[in-house]
Assembly symmetry: C2
Homo-oligomer: 152 residues x 2
Amino acid sequence: MGVEIEVKHLVADEGWRLVATDPVRMAQGYVAAAEDRTVRVRIGGDRAWLTLKFGTGMSRAEFEYVIPADDARELLDQAVGTVLDKTRWHVAHAGRTWEVDEFHGALEGLVLAELELDAEDDDFDLPPWIGEDVTGRPEYLNSSLSTRGMPR
Amino acid sequence: MGVEIEVKHLVADEGWRLVATDPVRMAQGYVAAAEDRTVRVRIGGDRAWLTLKFGTGMSRAEFEYVIPADDARELLDQAVGTVLDKTRWHVAHAGRTWEVDEFHGALEGLVLAELELDAEDDDFDLPPWIGEDVTGRPEYLNSSLSTRGMPR
């Protein structure tokens, strides 16, 4: 098990695009999604993962396993909610790498920036393009985006 | 993905014990359990598996992955319902091997015999010790036993 500690923000403008690298198109869906736990299937490039997360808020327990991409495609057919289509970009700032997810399809226009931390009280610097802090807001969980769609 | 095609019976008497071999004590629980899907964690001996099943009835889609036993123990702490404790026995009859699960703890006294088939219309011979056919009865799913306890 790992513990995933992560902050999540909206973006304020398009500034992140100037320094974004290594885009990976991802398909991800949930074969189970409750308030306190999710079972996620993700395909990125030719790799795929099954990821279980437990808990709410900034820190969650996470278990991740590489699975065959063929399995992942079949599992996505069993998803509750829609399968999310997004491009993940990597954006360096002040010695850290933010993951910026640009959503497509029904969520076109939504961009979320995430930063993984080693501890909840880790210091980090906010990039100039960063927007509202939505860490821990359930409507911005990818599982909520999948089952409930775009936050209002 | 595999398709699991399986019949499940109660036992009528203790006759199966005379020919039962290779017992494996198992702990298993569910980190997600709905009517049409389960996410199961099983530890048997020093091995562990994460298994996703979809569908109802005699045939279900099944995805199974070996996971570290340490992960499995942590996942069982996240189980919905109780963690089942059972001994799985292997019982040969007429060229096939039945799996006979003898439950312990709160389900002591319950014994379920399962046979995996290659097709729903496969022929097979019922052993003399076999009891009522409970194939597809939701209260005899291990996930139901975990979340709802002993069937009435």
